[in-house]
Symmetry: C2
């Protein structure tokens, strides 16, 4: 089985970086709980939005992002049993390319470069399963679309769910080690 796995909010916590840079620039700290069912972009003052929108275009935004809980161990287990590809819609953000490359080398060295994809829209990818946090990626995918729970998508009921990585063991019949 070929399983495609998205990066941001599935393997890497990019929301943490938004929160961190927003606090750096505007002195206000949001918690991930405050973003439940929404995005930072929507709850901050309108005057701040242009600045926040530029964050992912800036150098360093995607560097050293924290790991999503249990992503390393479970993706390793999935990779041992299945054909795992990492597929990130990264082409909008120039500096993300090198930073995502380094991040994968550091945290997921067991995923061969042949199985890493930086793309635009995901309709072009062929696989059995896509695990992603974004409805617009899942809805154009031709295989089984599984929504990985992130603060911004908790209210979406249209897709099969993976609420966290530990649940993947059951979903993909991986024996608990």
């Amino acid at each position: 089985m070929r399983i495609l796995i998205d990066m941001d909010e599935v393997m890497a916590d990019a929301i943490a970086r938004f929160i961190e840079w927003y606090e750096r620039d505007f002195g206000i700290h949001y918690t991930e709980e405050q973003l439940h069912g929404t995005k930072l972009h929507y709850i901050i003052p309108e005057a701040h939005r242009a600045v926040v929108k530029q964050y992912p275009h800036q150098k360093g935004f995607f560097a050293n992002l924290p790991l999503i809980a249990n992503s390393q161990e479970i993706i390793r287990e999935l990779n041992d049993k299945h054909e795992v590809y990492i597929a990130s819609a990264a082409m909008e953000f120039k500096y993300s390319l090198g930073e995502k490359y380094d991040w994968l080398d550091e945290h997921f060295p067991f995923i061969h470069w042949k199985r890493r994809i930086l793309c635009g829209d995901k309709s072009v990818l062929k696989g059995d399963v896509l695990i992603d946090d974004h409805d617009f990626n899942l809805s154009v995918f031709s295989g089984r679309a599984i929504m990985f729970t992130a603060t911004h998508n908790v209210l979406d009921t249209r897709f099969e769910r993976l609420n966290n990585w530990l649940e993947a063991r059951k979903l993909f019949n991986i024996d608990t080690p």
Copy 2:
């Protein structure tokens, strides 16, 4: 129709860079004619091979590559009529990612970032047509596989051929402007 187009030796002349850097390092100039049916790697002294093999891993190798003849105008015409994606197996070479991004922005700004893919193996891509110079990419592709002629593949008879970009007008029924 969705047409996937490879970059090196199809849009960008990476062989020219190999020849240029080899001359810089070893003082010997090869012509593309001398590479007919082979690769630089195979005809240089064995002692030089490790150096040449490292070239694509080095910063600058993929920067400012010359264009393959007529690629800009014909790919623009194809893009006006079809769903064109650029798909480069770039993930082996870290610095190629940013350099390919810049190169596309400079020479192919009309290809939206959503239609740019930097990947590993191309078996994961879904499309009607793949235009590529490498047999190993073409042979794992599930759609129509078209070999773009490059010095190293001229002796390969297994695939449909595109010998140059001007031929693509006829192949894809584009009216000559």
